[in-house]
Symmetry: C2
């Protein structure tokens, strides 16, 4: 893989890193760093490459999320994180949308400045334990009661892995509401093009000079490639061997983990 990557990695000026499954494995206990990833982030920063963390995490505010990662030893700050909730807030404000929220309790503070009275849209995130029968019916009733239902989804992931097993992600519940109301959700977060573009803009690097590193073949790799970036898939997190036979998406290279990716990339600089 090192040889194949050599030519195009020389142009690289910035990295986008997925977080869960690349830096750490999440779980009920908060999660554990993936071997070598703490050091890998330090080496990226020392190299002079631009770096941005690009996550679909919607179970906590960026503040809480960053605090958790710092607790594991990662050199990361809130200003370096691109996440769906702030992107959704910009859309809500631009279009005068007042959301009914079906999100994780710990994400609610991200929407503190947003008018939520008399809702004219539904925002769905990875609500986890909040995905109750009652809450889904309530979000459905808000949507079906609108003349033109507006559903904004913070990601479209199918599932993710926690230390106690696989969990359905927001995309599955988004599909349930889409079907029930015969609407198409607007997706904020990976793999939406606008989301990658805003991360690139924040980094000040054009797509041709940036690499995305993620564990999700569709949302990380496929999404980044559609923006004109190169993308590596790590064999950690939710990676499964059958991803290497994906019918539509082929990463520019595979690496065993973030540490190996950084080894190879820094060699080429």
């Amino acid at each position: 893989a090192g040889v194949e990557m050599a030519a195009w990695t020389r142009a690289v000026r910035g990295l986008l890193l997925d977080v869960s499954g690349v830096l750490y494995d999440s779980g009920g206990d908060g999660g554990v760093p993936i071997a070598g990833s703490v050091e890998a982030v330090r080496r990226i920063k020392a190299s002079g490459l631009k770096l941005r963390f690009c996550t679909n995490e919607t179970q906590a505010t960026r503040e809480e999320f960053v605090k958790k990662l710092q607790g594991m030893g990662f050199d990361i700050s809130v200003a370096e994180v691109t996440a769906p909730a702030p992107a959704a807030c910009r859309i809500l404000e631009e279009r005068s949308l007042r959301p009914h929220l079906l999100v994780h309790n710990d994400l609610v503070p991200e929407f503190a400045g947003i008018d939520k009275a008399n809702p004219n849209c539904v925002v769905i995130g990875d609500a986890a334990e909040n995905f109750t029968y009652a809450n889904l019916n309530e979000a459905f009733r808000v949507l079906i009661g609108m003349e033109k239902p507006v559903l904004i989804s913070l990601g479209r992931g199918r599932y993710y892995k926690e230390t106690d097993g696989l969990k359905l992600d927001v995309g599955a519940y988004m599909k349930a509401l889409e079907y029930a109301c015969d609407v198409q959700a607007e997706v904020v977060g990976k793999p939406a093009k606008a989301f990658f573009e805003s991360a690139l803009a924040e980094m000040g690097v054009p797509p041709q000079e940036a690499i995305m590193i993620g564990d999700d073949i569709v949302n990380d790799v496929g999404g980044a490639q559609r923006c004109g970036m190169r993308a590596l898939q790590v064999r950690t997190g939710k990676y499964r061997p059958c991803d290497e036979n994906h019918p539509h998406v082929k990463p520019d290279a595979y690496v065993n983990n973030l540490a190996e990716a950084v080894d190879i990339l820094l060699q080429q600089l």
Copy 2:
């Protein structure tokens, strides 16, 4: 409508009736008969027309369901009801499938004779309060753990109306699992062609001589028409005025309720 129907209603020998929204409105209290429906069922039986109740009800065994309807005054017996669970049991036995059940507690007895050890498929019904985050994750893990996931869905309804409001139906949750596992569910119940055909066979009437009467534009009317039957939509139950502008399905006629349908049909005999 009476005039338009006259020509083809003369050939009618059998009626298929949807139950919820046609005979009664369901609710937490068990439900209330729709005005005129008890008498309408009696008049059909007295007329000599063949009759079959064709329901996607999966919140109770047929025994409990029929008992509830008898309690409201309806002349109905278990042997006259075509319902998804028994149809699913026939499929499970034919194909040696052992189900993981995600269904309403009260439906479980319908699967009493079925081997459920070491499941090799998932059967999803309208599980209502059993549609918890934990139960959905569990059904998902069983499916995603199969080499070739098999998902059998007892209906594909979007939502239904109870006295305390609209509720998401099994179809929404089916879509969530379909998306998460990248599979297509096999639907048992309306609008599946095999389901209408078995109801017709049980009645001994060919589709050209049968009429379906239902409140669901897609699952009752559209499904029956695809089997070669005529279909009436009642303006009760989940009927909404916008159904009359449905892009794909047009009933052979509208009636205000079952009693009006029976008035018109019996006049033509």
